[in-house]
């Protein structure tokens, strides 16, 4: 018990020696952890949304209205026979008109001026595997009943590719800042160890174990790392709550992310910060102990 109080007391004495370095370290850990938290949360949100979109219509085949409805029917039947296809819905010109009116109900001038005759009928295809949209496009190309083909998969792939690039960039940035935090922790501990070199020497002569000498340094590094990460995670939760009520959430994105995912992410980051602090302290104090 007395040893524990010695360790805790010395942890805070050490931190008081270099307050600016301690603040810099906490801030670096904070920024790094915040980037990791928001990046991973953001990726989860994008994946949730794309997955939702992918469960809807994957390929829309606009039909040439100059060919007969029989040809349209044959095309639907042929599509339905493909093993990749789960479901095909025929969407008539009238249904397209109704949909247009609903989509643009806030722009009555547009609705009045549009010639609904130009709206084609279409086949809306739902695939078992959304990535098979290219197969459908290949098979439909050149078919006289087909006017145009649009696949949501392309847009989703582009979005995922953009998201992955952003995630990669943020991850690299987070790693760089984490590395800076790592060096800052090592530097802080080395400065403290240098200031306490006589104390460490005396402790070794008295018969204090390496672990015991090391503990205040380990506690300091873990404390700084945990503090930075905890603030970052708190800010991250705040940003997610704020985003849920934002305009973006109401218009394009559904900012839904499960509490389970966030709790796991939080626990993962907290655990990582403890390991991070432990490893940094190990590297930081090793030289001082071997002298």
């Amino acid at each position: 018990m007395n040893k524990l109080s010695y360790v805790i007391k010395n942890t805070f004495i050490n931190m008081r020696r270099n307050p600016l370095l301690v603040i810099a370290t906490v801030l670096a850990v904070l920024v790094s952890s915040f980037l990791v938290f928001t990046t991973l949360s953001g990726r989860a949100v994008v994946q949730n949304n794309t997955s939702r979109w992918q469960n809807g219509v994957h390929v829309v085949i606009f039909l040439d209205d100059r060919v007969t409805t029989t040809a349209h029917k044959q095309l639907q039947e042929s599509l339905e026979s493909y093993p990749e296809v789960r479901m095909v819905d025929y969407f008539s010109k009238d249904e397209a008109t109704e949909e247009f009116k609903i989509l643009f109900k806030d722009q009555p001038e547009l609705v009045q001026e549009v010639d609904f005759e130009i709206l084609p009928s279409s086949l809306r295809v739902n695939l078992n595997n959304p990535s098979d949209y290219t197969l459908i496009i290949e098979r439909m190309e050149g078919n006289p009943a087909v006017k145009e083909i649009r696949a949501s998969g392309e847009a989703i792939e582009r979005l995922l590719s953009l998201t992955n690039t952003l995630v990669l960039a943020a991850t690299v940035f987070a790693i760089l800042i984490a590395f800076a935090a790592f060096i800052l922790i090592i530097n802080t501990l080395r400065l403290t160890a240098f200031a306490k070199r006589k104390e460490i020497k005396v402790m070794k002569l008295i018969g204090a174990s390496s672990t015991y000498i090391r503990l205040p340094f380990i506690f300091e590094a873990i404390f700084e790392s945990l503090l930075g990460t905890s603030i970052a995670v708190g800010l991250g939760w705040g940003v997610i709550q704020y985003s849920k009520d934002s305009v973006v959430a109401e218009s394009i994105f559904d900012i839904t992310i499960s509490d389970g995912y966030l709790i796991n992410l939080t626990l993962g980051l907290i655990l990582s910060s403890v390991l991070f602090g432990f490893f940094a302290s190990y590297v930081g104090i090793r030289k001082a102990l071997n002298e």
């Binding site: 007395n2 104390e199 070794k204 002569l205 018969g207 204090a208």
Partner: protein, 225 residues
């Protein structure tokens, strides 16, 4: 208590610090380790508290085979030893009381024990009037006394003193030796490295003399020749 068999210490680069030393120090002995600067006295002591390890030979200290001692057992060995270096290595920002109690704190004593034992040690080294002074307010002799009190905190079986009177005038040196003799009478084995002939000649004790890393003399009531 301390046993060396054919112990040699050769530094990297080939310079020989100690060569083929064989000797034994029994429980309760008071032994002077003498020799000129560079004769190997500090290396001899460092081997005993495993600050360095021998190139060859066997060293046994307080029933621990030091020459092959794993790193994690070094603190266990050192808790059985008291070590006083030529520089007292006192913590400048702490008083006499705090410097001594620091050892006890590190060794895991509780607050009550620390207070009682620190007071006893201060009485033993006769620093009652200096208990709340900082090192810079103490004389060289007083600082050495603090270092001795701190080394005694763990109730060591052996006290290893590396030139504790090296920086002191003759009168203060005699006072320190008197203190060490008092500690020795209480049962602690003492090995004191020194090149102070006046002390060795005045207090005739067992003498081990080193010269160029070789043990050239071992006398029961020796003098500094």
């Amino acid at each position: 208590m301390i046993k060396l068999e054919n112990v040699s210490l050769v530094f990297q680069g080939g310079s020989v610090a100690l060569s083929n030393i064989t000797t034994e120090i029994k429980e309760g002995d008071f032994v002077y380790l003498i020799g000129h600067s560079g004769s190997g006295k500090s290396s001899f002591l460092k081997l005993l508290y495993r600050d360095t390890y021998p190139t060859k030979g066997i060293i046994d200290v307080v029933d621990m085979e030091v020459s092959s001692l794993p790193k994690w057992k070094i603190p266990i060995l050192r808790r059985k030893l008291g070590i006083v270096t030529q520089e007292p290595q006192l913590l400048e920002d702490r008083t006499t009381f705090e410097n001594i109690s620091f050892s006890l704190e590190v060794l895991g004593y509780d607050a009550k024990e620390i207070d009682a034992k620190t007071s006893t040690l201060i009485d033993l080294v006769e620093l009652q009037d200096n208990a709340y002074k900082f090192p810079y307010q103490l004389s060289g002799g007083e600082q050495t006394r603090v270092a001795i009190a701190r080394a005694l905190a763990s109730n060591p079986l052996v006290l290893l003193c590396d030139e504790p009177t090296g920086n002191l005038d003759p009168d203060l040196s005699i006072q320190i030796v008197s203190l060490l003799e008092k500690i020795n009478r209480a049962g602690t084995t003492i090995l004191m490295a020194t090149h102070d002939s006046s002390i060795v000649n005045r207090r005739k004790k067992r003498v081990l003399e080193l010269s160029d890393g070789k043990l050239i003399r071992d006398e029961t009531e020796g003098t500094y020749v």
